[in-house]
């Protein structure tokens, strides 16, 4: 999968590879190659330091971008996935389980998109059914019982919009998940690692700290959905993305995101180990701070944090 805005770079990189192959047969192209490599490096910088909101959306949705299970594999030890909501089903769009992060027992929960079509079908493209939120709730309560911090990874285009999901109370599942997270007495750390899609994201994303990878996006509605509503034209998604304020910078400015985790040049998928390291360090720092808080303080601070999220004014009547 190549992204539109990366094409000039990829073409140049392709040319360099070709020249290198030719060079292997004895022709001396060192100078030319070096020159092109410098050019590629410049191009890379100019492309990636001027990413539009829509470019970000593309990166956030990139199939090769690390997913929840990648982070679990790389940053956690002894992970045991736990299944089921104890009511109806196990939803593979949400993975959850116990594991250790830097030796500390925690509950990990995250949306899981697939890396290919087969996995996407299994996991319904990471779009949770009500059972996904209810599995999370069940395990949140268990984590609370045993005093385990909770780490959630957000990566979904949204809750699944299907007949059966509606029948089984998609809205109720999201609401009760959000409400539960506001009152849990254990630390909650959330990282938006890819796409944060509306209520389906928020259902597992009410945290004491909400972190966000630099090129992730988090939006009240998909750019396509927004464009359809505003201009009755889904192809104007690019324009919608620009207005929705879905980037990590804007969300930080609005006070909705606590820290942006910087990504390697070109996005997380271009240097996985750097990405994992960055996420680990961020988690580690915040977790260490949060576990020091008394449960009552934690809950009060979380309440105050969300209480402050709004921009209103008092109307002056003339």
């Amino acid at each position: 999968m190549s992204l539109e805005f990366e094409k000039p770079l990829l073409e140049l990189e392709g040319k360099i590879d070709e020249l290198k192959k030719v060079a292997e047969s004895g022709v001396d192209l060192t100078g030319v190659v070096r020159q092109l490599e410098r050019k590629a490096e410049e191009l890379k910088h100019s492309i990636y330091s001027n990413l539009s909101a829509w470019d970000r959306v593309q990166i956030a949705r990139h199939e090769q971008r690390p997913k929840t299970l990648d982070y679990i594999r790389e940053l956690f030890t002894g992970f045991h996935e736990l299944h089921g909501d104890r009511h109806y089903a196990d939803d593979a769009a949400v993975v959850a389980g116990l594991a250790r992060f830097e030796g500390r027992a925690v509950l990990v929960v995250g949306h899981q998109k697939g890396k290919d079509t087969k996995e996407n079908l299994l996991r319904n493209f990471g779009m949770p059914a009500p059972e996904g939120f209810r599995k999370a709730q069940r395990l949140f309560i268990m984590a609370q019982r045993f005093g385990l911090p909770i780490i959630t990874f957000v990566d979904t285009s949204g809750a699944y919009p299907g007949i059966e999901a509606e029948e089984r109370g998609q809205y109720e599942a999201i609401a009760s998940s959000i409400a539960l997270m506001t009152e849990l007495t254990v630390p909650i750390l959330t990282v938006v690692i890819g796409e944060g899609g509306s209520g389906g994201a928020l259902g597992i994303a009410v945290g004491d700290r909400v972190l966000m990878l630099e090129h992730s996006v988090y939006s009240v509605i998909s750019p396509e959905g927004c464009a359809t509503i505003l201009w009755r034209d889904a192809s104007k998604a690019e324009q919608a993305a620009a207005t929705l304020g879905l980037t990590s910078e804007t969300l930080t400015k609005l006070g909705l995101v606590d820290e942006v985790i910087h990504e390697p040049l070109g996005g997380a998928h271009r240097d996985l180990s750097l990405t994992y390291k960055a996420v680990q360090m961020a988690l580690s720092k915040h977790l260490e701070q949060l576990v020091k808080l008394a449960p009552d303080d934690l809950v009060q601070q979380r309440y105050d944090k969300y209480r402050a999220m709004g921009r209103v004014q008092r109307e002056v009547k003339v």
């Binding site: 998609q170 506001t182 509605i221 304020g245 879905l246």
Partner: protein, 293 residues
């Protein structure tokens, strides 16, 4: 004297909206409205005396927040809170959005899509929130979230039960993620009511969907709904696009959700006040012998 005449006395900000019913186009049409359920032309006076419920097909048309206060509260008992809290333009959508807000404020005489305050229902004091679909489709931005959260915090201070009458298409897109966060903010406030043992009742009216359905509207100790009200997370159009087929009749109605376990009771508008009162009394006045009416 019709119910709305009474309201006029009580509060000046009356909206003459016909809800989703439309003025009939025949001569003298200002006296008639056309039911959006069955198409029958109804004499406007009767329509309003019947609480905007069609006498023929029972369709419950949308009410303004003020009409709702009139219907649900004891006369003269409503005292408004935060009437001046308005939204800003945090994403700089620009003057178009601000103008629309201004227009809707003028049209509905509300500061945003919810009216909050203290009131009495059959003598029982409650905190009351009423959403109004006529204000930007009842969409929830910062002002709606602020007013609802503040209302619940006041209910907590005053030890009052809370009644929330919902009508909303969901989050307000133009306020972006701030809008989404109102879901967490309001839900957190509901849980404080729960912890304090204060009853919280939701009354779902047409429509209650998306971000509002998925937060405070579905967290009630008791959830009532008006007949035919559309409830749900995803909109019908989005679902139809996803599954590429028409939705079954009755899908996402109040009755559908009663059957599927998410609504305690579908209650006709005319019985709503009494039902709400009786249920709240059971939770707040456990030892009182109340009269049957």
């Amino acid at each position: 004297m019709s119910i709305f005449d009474k309201f006029r006395k009580q509060k000046p900000r009356i909206d003459s909206s016909e809800g989703d019913a439309v003025p009939a186009k025949a001569p003298g049409s200002d006296l008639w409205v056309k039911c959006s359920g069955c198409g029958t032309a109804v004499y406007k006076k009767n329509f309003q005396e019947n609480l905007k419920v069609c006498e023929k097909c029972g369709h419950h048309h949308k009410m303004t927040a003020q009409e709702r206060v009139q219907q649900m509260c004891d006369e003269g008992s409503f005292f408004e809170w935060d009437s001046d809290v308005i939204s800003m333009d945090p994403l700089e959508f620009g003057p178009e959005y601000l103008n629309k807000l201004q227009q809707d404020r003028a049209k509905t005489r509300l500061s945003d899509a919810v009216l909050t305050g203290k009131a009495k229902i059959e003598g029982l004091e409650v905190a009351l929130g009423v959403m109004d679909f006529h204000f930007r489709g009842g969409s929830m931005g910062s002002a709606v979230g602020e007013k609802i959260t503040a209302m619940m915090e006041r209910a907590l201070e005053l030890g009052l039960p809370t009644v929330m009458i919902t009508s909303s298409g969901g989050a307000r897109m133009q306020e972006g993620m701030l809008s989404l966060m109102q879901m967490a903010r309001t839900s957190a406030a509901v849980r404080r009511l729960n912890k304090a043992g204060l009853p919280y009742m939701c009354i779902l009216t047409d429509p209650t969907t998306a971000g509002v359905a998925a937060s405070f509207a579905s967290l009630g100790d008791i959830i009532l709904a008006e007949p035919g009200a559309i409830v749900g997370f995803s909109g019908a159009r989005v679902i139809e696009q996803t599954i590429r087929q028409k939705l079954p009749p009755g899908f996402q109605t109040a009755e559908f959700y009663e059957k599927h376990g998410f609504v305690d009771k579908v209650v006709k508008r005319v019985e709503l006040k009494r039902t709400a009162y009786e249920l709240l009394s059971l939770l707040t006045r456990p030892l009182e012998v109340i009269s049957e009416s």
